[in-house]
Every structure is written in C-alpha cells, then in structure tokens.
Amino acid sequence: MTDFSRLGVASIRDGVAKGEFKAVEVAEALNTRVAAAKALNAFIVETPEKAIEAAQAVDADRAASKPLGKMAGVPIGMKDLFCTEGVQTTAASHILEGFVPTYESTVSANLWKAGAGMLGKLNMDQFAMGSSNETSYFGNVISPWRRNDGGNVALAPGGSSGGSSSAIAARLCPAATGTDTGGSIRQPAAFVGISGIKPTYGRCSRWGVVAFASSLDQAGPMARDVRDCAIMLEAMAGFDPKDSTSLDLPVPAWEAGLNSDLRGKKIGIPKEYRLDGIDEDIAQMWDNGIAWLKDAGAEIVDISLPHTKYALPAYYIIAPAEASSNLARYDGVRFGLRDLPEGAGLQDMYAATRAAGFGEEVRRRIMIGTYVLSAGFYDAYYTQAQKVRALIARDFENAWSQCDLILAPTAPSAAFGLGEKTSDPLSMYLNDVFAVPASLAGLPAMSVPGGLSKEGLPLGLQIIGKALDEQGVLDAGLAIEQRSGFTAEAGEWW
C-alpha cells in the first residue's frame, strides 16, 4: 500500500490523474496523520471534512472525465493568515479568536479551484510577527527536528510560517501556504529542510490575507521540493482586481519551464552577506552551493550590495509603521474580541480590547510603528527608512548588470531552541538579516535545503532573482536540489 505521506504535490496530482489511487484515499491518510500529530501544535483548526469533500469532488470529476486542476487531489495546509469562508481565521491572535470569515481569500480560492483540499488552518506567529512561532496565542509550534546530541530540546520551526514548515517536514501535508513579509516563508523552510518561494511582490493577491505590512506582504508556497513549489505557485498566483498592487500579468508555466541547466547564467555572491563571525556550517554550505551552481554550468561573480546592513533597521521601521496602521482596524466594534470594562466608554473599550487581544510582540510593534509615524518623528524615521529602502532596491538593480541571480544563505544559523531568543527582541530580529533585503526590494526569493549543521539540523540556501524571474530562481533551486543530495528527515517522535 502506498504511504501517501511520502508523496509530494506532483506525485499525488499525477497518481490521481492516472487513477493509481483515489484522491479520497490520500485525504484520509493525511487527515489521520494530522490528527495524530498534536504534539507539534502545527494546526489551530483541523478540517478533515473539507479535505474529504474536495477529494470527493476531484474523484467525481475524474470519473466523469472532466479536466482536472493543477492541484487536483492534493490536500494542503492553509496558514491561518488566509481568510477561509466558514472556517475560523485568527492570524494566531486572541483578538480574532472565533472570527469566521464570510468570504474566501483570493489565494485560497485559487487553490480550491485548482483542486486542492484543506486539511486545516496552520499555526503561525501572531499576525505573522515573529521568527520562531513563539508569538502565537495558540501556543508554540514545535519543529519535528531534534539535534543529534541525544537531547530532546524543543526547536523552533522558524516563523512566521512555522505551522506550515513543521507540518510539511513532519509529512502531515505535502505542501502549505506561507506568507513572507521579511523572511516568513524562507527562514522556516530553511529551519526544517524544505523549500519555499516568495514570489515577486504583486504575483499573489493580498485580498483576504490578514494584513501585516502591506508593501511587503506576499504569499507563496512551501513544499518538499522545487517542482512542488512551482506547481503550487502557479495555482496561487494571478491578477486580482481586488488587490490594487496585484500585477496584471499572465502566470507563467513555471513547472513546464523548469530547467536546471544553468549554462550562460551568472550567479552573484554578495560580499556583504559574509558577516564577520559567520557560522562555520553556514559558510561551508554556502561554498557548497557555489560549487553546485558552477557544476550546473553557471558562472560565479562577486558582487556588492553596499546597503545590506541597513536593510534590517529599515525593515523594523517600515513594517511596524504599516502594521500600526493596518492593525488599527481591531477596535472591538466590527469583529473579533471586545473587552468592555464596567462603565467604560468607547475609548476605554478600544484600549482594553487591544491590550487584551494583542500579544506582547504585536503590541510592541504597534507602539514602535505609532512612534515612528508620530508628529516630529515621521521624517527622521519613516521617510529616512523609505529612502534607505530605495537605496537597497537600487543595490539590487546595480547587481543585475553583473549577474542574473544571487546566492546567499537563508538564515545566519540553524534552528534554535524555543525560548532561547525570546528575552531579547533584537536578537530575534537578527534572524532575518539575509531574508529582509529581497523583501524590501519586492524580489522573488527562494530557500532550498543546503545541508545539515554539525548538530544535524537543516540549513537553507537562498536564491534571489530579478523582479518577475521566478523561473530563474526555481531553476537554480532545482540545480541545487539535484546536487545537494539532501534526503535527511526528522525522526518521528511525536
């Protein structure tokens, strides 16, 4: 009997299409795995009936010889940032606990239309603010990975898409949606040894996605290999008139276009990413990645992205500023939590509701955002950060005159233990040092597994491409995947 947990998106889609097995069999098998993996806390809500319903529809379509969609028969996890009609959507916050959308996000609707089914809503950092999945109101997500020291230290699955990364690495689902504002797809993918791509800003509609920082938020797929990411991104992407920043462009056939022959391609290696005191394992993995891309025919060139060190501080002005504005909508009036102390007026109700409903990190970022946008500080902080952001984008523009793609590590270290970085917000923020520049510039960027650390934990390689060149990014990712020989997986302790 087929172990459906071992099949990826392409294998399930093809097997269902060929009649090797029924979509319902896959959905049932994965529903069982999800239900048995409570120890990971990857799901906030499980929706086995949705997975079965979608699978039955695909099986019926096949029986009737109707054309099948790009994701037909593939059960997936849905990050709890995507509004799903009739299914609680919380962004892992208390303030949205019990919120049941009366509409469906464009990205999730696209996936259901393509024949995917929903296993459940995935846990995440609250409002996507975090890099370790420790800010969720619904508890930490645990990585299925453990260090090879024999200890049982619970490790972070990365964040903010930590439920997605944990569930995929634990083979509860072949793929899941993620969102990436400053690394929230790539860093968790790197931490658990899977792949994930953030497309060019505007490829995936933001409509129906709980907003964090609108000029940065982008949805993307996470899966166990590059081909599966390509398939799922095709299903997710596309023009949406309901999102004013949606790109009115056709969706390329990324899967059909996959080509790991990189002859004629130039890969830039940014010297500023080689930080002083860079982790030895990370440096070694990066060198291996360079060798693999050379082997695939690419030419390696040294490049400079001079404003790299300013990306993170600029991000921590821009993202909180946008968040403070976006999260103003949670007022205890129209939806979500209301905390109305005895005798309180409207203003007191707002303040009490928001104090009770937002977690500590969310409150901190709203306050930073409010401060940097306040009278007298706006130009010094926000305008200056947006100028620096323009310079960071210009750095990439200049680099493209020398190279086609950029190779760098995804994160500065392997996964850390839960609780190791929670006492100091800054040390947590530094996790995204390599991921944030591409976010600020709106560029497509992907993480693929690059090897294991000495502790036996996955490390990720990041490929950054020109705007709209997801194909180039996926191709280089595939070239690495074919050469890295990465087959390690987490032992099943849960």
């Binding site: 007026g345 303040a351 200056q384």
Partner: protein
Amino acid sequence: MTETAFPLKRGGADASGTLMSVDKDTVNKIARLSRIAINDAEADKMVGELNGILAWVEQLGEVDCTGVEPMTAVIPNKLRLRDDVVTDGDVRDKVLANAPAKEGSFFGVPKVIE
C-alpha cells in the same frame, strides 16, 4: 557612504540633533495614541525595549540619502481605475456576522455622548 548627522532638527531632537531617548511619559503617550491600555510595570519594561530598538534603527542616520526619493511602490505598477458603478454590496448580514455586539442591523457600541 559618507557619515552624516542624523537629519533631525525639529521636534524630538535635542539641540545637537540627536534623538532623545524615550521616557515613561512618552511610552504612555504612544500607548494612548495606539489605543492600547498599559499598566505601570508594562510601561517601565517598554521604556527599555523601545530605547533598545530605537537606538539600533538610528544607524539609518549614517546613510547619505541626498537626492534619494523615498520608495513608494516596490514594483512599478500603475494604479488602476475602474468604472464608477456598484459592484458589491447588499451583504449587511455578512458584514454584521462577526460583530461582538449588534443591535438590529447596527454595530453596538457603548454610549458615546452623555
């Protein structure tokens, strides 16, 4: 990249042009502007955290941004206009479905005017 003073000569800066650190009164003011109730202990804790983060982001002041326009759109895209016609609506019950308090077809709020 040339070292330039943080370009701040008005509110929020002291006479030398450097940003003042945030004190507890300021934290309370930000909390009020943010519509987030905080108690004394939280305000004390926030003073240190905000100052740490603000001191770190102030390195942006080193960057010479002369002649640089602040970014407004990350990917060139033109804002679309649509025909000025009704395309949506008549969904009152859906809009009210998640209201924490409603009265008839209205959102319920505490008394605003005495």
